[in-house]
């Protein structure tokens, strides 16, 4: 098979070089070297289709946008309405509710755990009558597109392990990120952008937001072909994308042409197939030099779209701009777009912090979902919004009439999803009146991961990678697809 493919590749290249001769500047040698372009016109395309083991069954989703809210958004101030906490504001959390839940080092010294409701107004919206607080005015308008899971739970109680757990299925570093798994399992949908792209933005809520770590989009033990590629705002969106100063496109093209022929002679003498992949990689790199700036350049976006995402959408590197960029990447068939927005860690001064924080994301999130919908992309694009854990119903620090803080709470929190066969206008799971324990339909992180994979036609128990003698899964040995969340 390898030989056959190489034959096509070489044959074309040889043919091309013979006929055009050497030293054709500017001409896209790239397309000649790209087997996928060949695939369109000859037998290769047949070799790329066929009944391979993935997907395991018919998929609903083709692409993901994961809007990761880093820090742990307070479900009690955003989506999980608990009037009981307002009514009994200030009473100590009963042991019968806490049931020995461990505390972080930040509140383990507190002698009292006074519960507090939200100071924000909650109302029900849409036909689905979903509860949303006044912090999310735009999201509240689109609740009929959303599926809220109010019964998420996790084991991790600190940021680093909790985020790592969501992204890799393990609290300790070393496993591949979910985007890497997807790239590994399903491959790429396009031939000039990476299949797993990461966008970062910093929240305005917390003066000193929690850091992120590049291992969150790492490929772990999978091939580094599958690592997330960070797209940064600024002149070099992908590291080392730009030609060095003074090197023209023409010169670069010429260099790549000569590079290819010299490498080819090398391949002939060593018969090392790595060399042909190297030649292709140079062509891909060359294409990215155009495709990446193109996708980052929003000057072709009409005003009404930019207004829809809000005024920050003009400012590269903001959450709103990243939402817009995510849509543009999805339009180019990027498989997995992972956003991270930091700053959801409201241990103190929650009211003032969370209002800024929610403002960062409210409009962009709602605009993204509606924009996808109006383009028909929501049907097969899964959007996920959520953080690594929730926040406590009791106050961290001093509880006053206008101020409170909340510590980390792994035992129950809320996320929402939209698109790609997830049930719209639906809320799943319930917590008790204290908003502390789940009383109905719990969804564990591994369940969520299993459900996400399910939408891609992947049986989470069957997508494995054998490493150091063991078959690893994103969901370890756990996880259950939550069929109730699916729009069947």
């Amino acid at each position: 098979m390898e030989e056959l493919n190489k034959y096509f590749l070489n044959n074309n290249r040889r043919h091309f070089l013979k006929n055009i001769g050497f030293g054709i500047g500017g001409l896209a040698l790239g397309s000649m070297l790209d087997p996928f372009n060949l695939a369109d016109s000859n037998k290769m395309s047949k070799l790329h289709s066929g009944s391979l083991p993935l997907p395991h069954f018919a998929p609903k989703a083709k692409r993901v946008i994961y809007l990761f809210q880093s820090g742990g958004p307070s479900q009690l101030d955003l989506f999980d309405y608990k009037p009981y906490l307002n009514k009994f504001r200030g009473i100590d959390l009963p042991d019968s509710i806490r049931k020995g839940q461990r505390l972080t080092g930040m509140t383990s010294n507190q002698s009292k755990f006074p519960v507090t409701g939200s100071i924000y107004d909650f109302k029900q919206y849409g036909e689905s009558r979903a509860w949303v607080s006044s912090l999310m005015p735009n999201v509240s308008k689109i609740v009929d597109e959303l599926c809220f899971v109010k019964s998420m739970h996790t084991e991790a109680i600190n940021h680093d392990p909790a985020i790592t757990f969501f992204q890799t299925g393990s609290q300790q570093p070393g496993r591949p990120s979910i985007g890497s798994w997807m790239s590994y399992g399903l491959g790429s949908l396009n031939d000039n952008l990476p299949s797993f792209i990461v966008l970062l933005s910093t929240g305005n809520g917390k003066p000193q937001p929690q850091p992120l770590y590049s291992r969150l989009w790492g490929n772990g033990f999978l091939s580094s072909l599958h690592q997330g590629v960070q797209f940064r705002s600024g002149k070099d969106p992908v590291l080392y994308l730009q030609n060095p100063e003074g090197v023209s496109k023409e010169e670069r093209r010429k260099m790549l042409d000569h590079l290819a022929v010299i490498n080819e002679t090398q391949e002939k003498s060593f018969g090392d197939s790595e060399i042909s992949s190297r030649i292709s990689n140079y062509e891909m790199a060359y294409r990215m030099q155009t495709s990446v700036p193109d996708v980052m350049d929003i000057s072709d976006e009409p005003d009404h779209i930019l207004r829809m995402y809000g005024k920050n959408s003009y400012k590269p590197g903001t959450y709103a701009a990243n939402c817009l960029l995510a849509r543009r990447l999805i339009e180019k068939d990027v498989r997995f777009v992972q956003l991270y927005h930091t700053g959801w860690d409201q241990h103190d001064n929650l009211p003032s912090q969370i209002s800024r924080q929610a403002k960062d994301v409210d409009q962009g999130t709602a605009a993204l979902i509606m924009d996808l919908k109006q383009r028909g992309l929501l049907e097969d694009t899964l959007v996920i919004w959520g953080g690594e854990f929730g926040r406590t119903n009791y106050c961290q620090g001093k509880l006053t009439d206008i101020d409170y803080g909340r510590d980390h709470h792994p035992r129950s929190f809320t996320i929402f999803m939209a698109g790609a066969g997830i049930k719209p206008g639906f809320s799943y799971g319930e917590t008790d009146d204290f908003g502390y324990n789940i009383v109905k339909d719990p969804v564990h992180v591994h369940d969520l991961q299993a459900t996400i994979l399910n939408q891609f036609g992947i049986d989470h128990e069957r997508m494995t990678y054998k490493f150091q003698g063991r078959r690893f899964r994103l969901t370890d040995v756990h996880g259950e697809v939550k069929k109730e969340l699916l729009d069947i």
Binding site: E2, G187, L212, L225, K254
Partner: protein, 771 residues
């Protein structure tokens, strides 16, 4: 399934070849998939069945992979109270039929196992359909042939002492004899010696991690004596750079970094330990001592400062400063990290699974894990450290006087008054070790453990101290079957890219089998007999014909052994991340050769640290400040390693993350690598520097100039064809520059053209290969 399997492997093999090698471009497009490594396995196994089936080499790998999960060493998952990993259970009477046994030696018709693997009834079939595990036809045939041939038991191959291997192998044996023995079986032979230039460059990178200079190449080419090659070997082995090269491999194993790793990722001071590693390699410290000092230096009688310093090895793991963490949870992680690292590095054993439950594939119980864990659990350390603590307890202080007198290999700058760094220190009666249920810090059972080593490998001698020193004695007990095998296998991997056992961290049931078991045993025995003399072992390897042979395969060789498992030619390998960058530096003349000292910060795209560092660290690591005074041109071994934002160029070229112990790096080829080689300012600077320094000298013909640059960068003279392409390129680029800018003077244009030419050569496949 039977019918579709060949088709599947056919397609999957295709997906493998293209998926792995060429990133999204050649990744299976859209819904085409993968499970690449699984299919690779089955493809590899799709070869003829040996005449005599070996339990260890043919049968057990199948049973382990497909059956042990439910019928293996883990008692909690054993189904039907039946284990396939122990021979006692094999000969039990069948529950279904009194006339049958599970395995009836020599009689297929009386073996229930055969009925089961051949069954098509879902409720009867083994492995059951819901396990998602399938036996291939070949695997079934092997099991059957083994039963027909008597179903004989053997202990695990890696746990039979190499000293006991039967069949006398006399002192006249050497590496080549073992290699030839296997090659001849396949009708193959060793290749001729590689061309001198290629061989020299290979040797330089392998022994010192740096390319030879032009002068060194010329000298070697001119030396026609028989000992020319050996002279270079000896020179390189005694150079300081040898220790640096060896240390750069050890840094991956030791998960060395300059920061703490979790969340806020503050700075730590461990580089003096790194300087010790370089020193230890350079003075050719015997491997047993090298390891003993690192594992238990503090426990040696009258431990010296140097011995204590060496124990820094086991403090290199990540440590958290995240506010609010539960300290014990993290402390347990650190101890587990040391346990896992020790098993992986020195015992070729993956024990992570045994932290939570008895190992499903190897005879390593959860008790074994916590017995080993106990050795590392007696350190008075903190689960969470403060933001400012650069050397969390236990630690040692080293001042200038002490360093000058006892530890002169530590390159402490005058600006640092005193060094303070983490080490291991036994604290008696600090805490007891209990088996943790599911490995969780908050679920101790009442099973107390007092330190021991897995008896399946070698029972722990009761005379050994029940501490890390005893652990080291167990490792280097002449009876220990595993330590030397794992060590020489890693050395082999350093030169040939793949170990004799291709899974260097797993010599257990799920690991790969050695391609040359007798060679591995012989080398292991030599290592022990020669008192763990590492330089001697390395010299033996590089002096072999197997090492010196050409890397050019013939079509016949490629057909018979396409993956070159049997080494009928030298395996071409990509240079490591460090070598690729160091080659820019040395070949261009930018290189600053200075051994040891604090880590340095070479060029890195701006903003990377700012993006990932949280606001709560007011530490020096918020912004990357590039080093000056030549420190930016030091060997990549010295590049500052910030774990949450590691040097991007290095990571792109498959350097390990240093988050945990790594004994084998990935080997990939991606478009991001092309971007680094084309556009990294470091490459650009090297190309410019090379062009400028060439042109500032006496001007020669273009052809001579090109040959000069080509030799500097690739270590060899260009072939005629290549040279013509390069000459052509120079002309073409000159044309572009002449058209573009009239104002540029001639010298400027020459400079630009030669910079471009050098950059092209830096990007050639030849440049980043060890051929």
């Amino acid at each position: 399934m039977k019918k579709t399997l060949p088709l599947l492997s056919f397609l999957a093999c295709f997906a493998l070849v293209f998926g792995v090698k060429t990133y999204f471009l050649l990744q299976p497009r859209s819904e085409v998939s993968v499970l690449e490594n699984e299919f690779d396995d089955s493809f590899e196994k799709n070869i003829s069945i040996p005449e005599t089936v070996s339990y260890n080499f043919d049968v057990k790998p199948i049973l382990s992979d497909k059956c042990y999960k439910c019928h293996g060493p883990d008692p909690n998952s054993v189904q039907a109270d039946f284990r396939l990993d122990i021979s006692e259970d094999w000969y039990r009477i069948s529950m279904e039929n009194d006339n049958k046994k599970i395995i009836s030696s020599g009689d297929l018709s009386k073996s229930e196992l055969v009925d089961r693997i051949r069954s098509t009834r879902a409720s009867h079939q083994m492995p059951p359909p819901e396990s998602n595990l399938v036996l291939s036809e070949r695997e079934k045939l092997i099991i059957e042939k083994w039963i027909t041939q008597g179903a004989k038991w053997e202990p695990h191959w890696a746990y039979i002492s190499p000293l006991k291997i039967e069949g006398k192998i006399d002192s006249k044996w050497n590496i080549d004899k073992f290699i030839l023995l296997e090659l001849e079986k396949k009708g193959l032979n060793i290749s001729n010696e590689a061309p001198k230039e290629l061989l020299l460059r290979r040797l330089y990178f392998d022994l010192i991690g740096l390319p030879p200079t032009l002068a060194q190449i010329n000298q070697f080419l001119q030396d026609k004596s028989e000992s020319a090659y050996e002279k270079v070997v000896d020179k390189l082995l005694s150079s300081q750079a040898y220790g640096e090269r060896m240390a750069s491999i050890w840094m991956d194993i030791a998960r060395y970094a300059d920061t703490n790793g979790y969340q806020d990722d503050t700075e730590r001071t461990m580089w003096p330990w790194r300087d010790w590693v370089i020193h230890a390699y350079n003075k050719n410290m015997p491997y047993d001592q090298f390891v003993t000092w690192q594992l238990a230096g503090d426990l040696l009688p009258n431990a010296t400062k140097e011995q204590i310093l060496a124990t820094g090895f086991n403090r290199n793991h990540m440590i958290t400063q995240e506010g609010g963490v539960i300290e014990e949870e993290y402390r347990v992680e650190y101890v587990a990290d040391r346990t896992v690292t020790t098993a992986k590095t020195f015992m070729g054993l993956t024990v992570e699974c045994a932290r939570c439950h008895d190992h499903k594939y190897d005879e390593i119980s959860q008790k074994d894990f916590f017995n080993l864990f106990d050795f590392f659990n007696r350190i008075d350390e903190d689960g969470r450290i403060s933001y400012t603590d650069k050397a969390p307890k236990p630690n040692i202080k080293l001042d200038h006087n002490l360093i000058k007198e006892k530890l002169p290999f530590i390159k402490i700058p005058d600006s640092i008054i005193e060094l303070d760094l983490m080490v291991m220190k036994e604290a008696d009666n600090l805490r007891k070790t209990y088996l943790l249920n599911r490995g969780a810090y908050d679920s101790p059972t009442d099973i107390e453990l007092n330190g021991s080593m897995p008896s399946v490998i070698l029972p722990f001698d009761q005379n050994f101290e029940k501490n890390r020193l005893g652990l080291s004695k167990w490792l280097f007990d002449p009876k220990n079957p595993i330590t030397s095998r794992v060590a020489v296998n890693r050395l082999w991997q350093q030169f040939f890219g793949i170990g004799i056992v291709s899974t260097p961290s797993d010599f257990g049931n799920q690991g790969a089998l050695p391609t040359h078991p007798k060679l591995l045993d012989w080398l292991s025995r030599k290592y022990i007999e020669e008192s763990w003399n590492t330089k001697k072992m390395i010299k033996r390897i590089v002096m072999s014909k197997t090492y010196k042979q050409s890397s050019k395969p013939t079509p016949f060789k490629s057909k018979i052994d396409p993956k070159n498992y049997y080494l009928s030619h030298f395996p071409r390998q990509k240079l490591t991340a460090e070598m690729i960058r160091d080659n820019f530096l040395v070949s261009s003349g930018l290189f600053v050769d200075k051994v040891g000292g604090p880590s340095v910060k070479p060029y890195q795209p701006p903003g990377l640290w700012d993006e990932l560092t949280g606001g709560s660290t007011s530490n020096s690591l918020k912004r990357y400040k590039m080093s000056t005074n030549g420190n930016q041109y030091r060997r990549s071994l010295y590049t500052y390693w910030k774990r949450t934002a590691p040097p991007p160029g290095m990571i792109t070229f498959d350097a390990s993350t240093r988050d945990y112990c790594t004994v084998e790096r990935q080997k990939t080829s991606t478009p991001l690598q092309s971007l680094v080689l084309l556009n990294d300012p470091q490459v650009q600077e090297a190309a410019e520097y090379l062009a400028t320094s060439l042109l500032s000298k006496e001007l020669k013909s273009h052809k001579e100039n090109i040959i000069h640059i080509y030799r500097k960068i690739t270590g060899r003279s260009p072939q005629k064809k290549t040279l013509n392409y390069l000459i052509d390129y120079r002309k073409e680029v000159e044309k572009i520059h002449l058209q573009k800018a009239e104002s540029l003077d001639k010298f400027d244009i020459r400079n630009k053209v030669y910079t471009s030419l050098s950059l092209l050569i830096y990007n050639l496949d030849e440049t980043s290969q060890k051929s």
